[in-house]
């Protein structure tokens, strides 16, 4: 029986390949959308809970425009309940949503290392601490831009010397190049000496995060650059809000694709059945009953869809894992995260879609007028 089903699929090779290709493409899109989706989820859930506040310029949403006075830093550090403060100058190659963005974060080296759990995988960390123009580059960014220790790397006015590559386990950090704070502040054209982009505030007690955030904002409300302080998760959610809408849209498109595929697949199966009504009638003449004939048609369409699903999910996995593709908005890198769960779901849903697409043709095949079908040419 399986022989028969497999051979039937192979009988019209062009059609089978096109069908499998269509399913593969849809599954690819499906997996891609799921990957963006879970990338967003991961970004917003991975951020260190409420133990970390981010101080930003009030009503500014882009790194280029957020300018906080560096002298705020010691004042925030004095607030009771604050454990550590990390001022950061952030420079991004592109503030809009983009697939290829480079983010530089400049900070005091020791505080930076204390705040980011990173592991150096290549190069020399000591050299990074020493050299003013040295950059410590995340693996994802290094891979995307083919960077390795010893390479000079220029984005806009920023020219750095890559001295080490690190791995952090965070998709955001893995896409960042860390530099010295002073070096970034002095980049010509940035006019940033004495200013930082944002200040990370690490708390002793997460329960007090709201109170401390309010305290900071009150402190600078009438100052030169009023602040807006949020827990990191809320900050990221705010920054990726536009992207989230795009993702919702992509999700709808993805599901529409699945519906379209369903229709295409159903059409193909109908054709495959019509092409061999006489054979299906013969099977019934030699004793195949309704269930068996229906099962054959369902199995054929389910199997084609399964094959397509495997191919599509496989390609999606290869592409996403190989390129570590991500999308960035306002300097926040959302790395597409394709989990085994999503892959499995892609394959399972395409197989189920295949079976659903086969229902009508299967009913048709198993209820055809045997006598008339045998007479047909």
């Amino acid at each position: 029986m399986i022989t028969y089903i497999l051979r039937s699929l192979l009988r019209n090779k062009t059609r089978s390949i096109l069908t499998i290709g269509a399913v593969a493409l849809t599954t690819f899109i499906f997996c891609f959308v799921r990957a963006i989706d879970s990338g967003m989820d991961r970004l917003l859930s991975s951020s260190g809970a409420e133990k970390k506040l981010i101080v930003y310029h009030k009503n500014r949403f882009c790194y280029a425009t957020s300018k906080l006075l560096e002298r705020y830093v010691p004042r925030i550090a004095e607030i009771p309940g604050v454990e550590r403060v990390l001022p950061l100058k952030v420079y991004v190659s592109n503030c809009r949503a983009s697939l290829d963005i480079v983010t530089f974060e400049g900070g005091p080296t020791d505080e930076l290392l204390a705040s980011r759990p990173i592991k150096v995988v290549a190069g020399d960390l000591e050299q990074w601490k020493r050299d003013e123009d040295a950059a410590l580059v995340g693996v994802a960014l290094a891979k995307r831009r083919s960077l390795s220790p010893g390479v000079k790397f220029r984005v806009g006015n920023v020219l750095v010397n890559v001295v080490a590559i690190f791995e952090s386990g965070s998709s955001v950090d893995d896409n960042i190049a860390f530099t010295h704070l002073g070096y970034l502040q002095r980049i010509p054209g940035l006019n940033s000496v004495g200013y930082v982009t944002q200040i990370e505030v690490y708390l002793k007690d997460p329960a007090r995060s709201e109170a401390i955030a309010r305290q900071i904002d009150d402190m600078f409300a009438t100052d030169e650059s009023p602040t807006d302080t949020k827990p990191e998760r809320a900050f990221l959610a705010r920054k990726t809000r536009d992207l989230a809408e795009v993702v919702t849209f992509a999700r709808v498109l993805g599901y529409v694709c699945v519906l379209v595929m369903l229709a295409i697949l159903a059409n193909t199966v109908v054709m495959a059945v019509q092409d061999r009504v006489r054979e299906l009638a013969m099977l019934q003449a030699v004793g195949y009953d309704v269930q068996r004939v229906a099962a054959i048609v369902l199995a054929e369409s389910g199997l084609a869809a399964f094959a397509g699903g495997l191919v599509g999910a496989g390609i999606a996995a290869l592409v996403l894992w190989w390129t570590r593709l991500g999308i960035a908005t306002e300097g926040i890198q959302v790395e597409f995260a394709l989990s085994f769960g999503s892959i499995g779901m892609g394959v399972v849903s395409s197989t189920v879609a295949g079976a659903i697409a086969g229902i009508a043709p299967a009913w048709h095949a198993s209820h055809l007028e045997i006598a008339d079908a045998l007479r047909s040419l």
Binding site: Y4, G287, Y288, D289, A371
Partner: protein
């Protein structure tokens, strides 16, 4: 009681509001182990009659009993299951699955029966041998001649060891040599394996190998039925047949 027993069988098609009856009030008895040829002009309802006997089609009126089974009362699936055990169907145009080998084609009806793979392979081999086509077991239909294809189709009809074989113009598409080989094979099925055969044919020569010929015309039998047979095709009954269990039977 006859193995196949038709009483008052009528088939009516409604075409564009007008009724058309290819079969009118037919009575027919075919005994176990008989070999009957069915002749008649095109459109006289021969295929329809075969289909009604094998439960593929239902009569508009009348009763059909085959081996004691009230065939028209069976549901579609029940009829299929009954057919898989009771009837072997041979088609004019073979109806082999083009993507399967001869062996796999013959195996198809056996997949419906519970048995081990080895037992199944053995029965397929025996059926191919009985049909004289075992040397072509691994060829696909496109690699076979018409006569060879029909042999494969005959092997497929006998592989599940049904008591009754119906054949719809089995030699209609074959040249003379292939046709006589196929007819010889059908005779063997009748004589050696004790099958009951009902064969539709246009060829009076082919009908001669049967014990009895019945003729359909305009929906009725030309010769009274049951009882006397038509002159031309009548031959004395063959010597007492071997039991069903021989040869292709397990």
């Amino acid at each position: 009681m006859a193995l196949i027993e038709l009483r008052g069988v009528t088939k009516v098609y409604s075409k564009g509001g007008r009724d058309f009856a290819p079969l009118k009030d037919l009575d027919l008895d075919i005994e176990k182990n008989e070999f009957v040829a069915l002749m008649g002009p095109s459109g006289s309802g021969k295929t329809t009659l075969l289909n009604i006997i094998s439960g593929i089609d239902k009569p508009t009126r009348g009763s059909v009993r085959v081996g004691g089974v009230d065939v028209p009362s069976l549901s579609r699936s029940k009829a299929a299951q009954w057919r898989s055990r009771a009837i072997g169907y041979i088609f004019q145009r073979y109806n082999l699955v083009p993507v399967l080998t001869a062996f796999e084609n013959v195996e198809l009806p056996l997949l419906l029966h519970k048995m081990s793979g080895a037992a199944r392979a053995k029965r397929v081999t025996l059926a191919l041998q009985a049909a004289g086509i075992s040397h072509r077991a691994n060829h696909t239909p496109t690699e076979l001649s018409g006569g060879e294809e029909q042999r494969v189709s005959i092997a497929r009809a006998i592989v599940a060891d049904p008591q009754i074989i119906v054949a719809d113009e089995p030699t209609g598409d074959l040249d003379r040599d292939s046709a006589s080989a196929v007819l010889g094979l059908l005779t063997r099925l009748h004589r050696e394996f004790g099958k009951t055969l009902l064969m539709v044919t246009h060829d009076a020569k082919a009908a001669e190998i049967a014990q009895r010929t019945i003729r359909l015309q305009k929906g009725t039998f030309l010769t009274p039925e049951p009882g006397a047979s038509s002159g031309n095709g009548t031959r004395p009954p063959t010597p007492s047949p071997a039991p069903t269990a021989a040869g292709a039977a397990p």
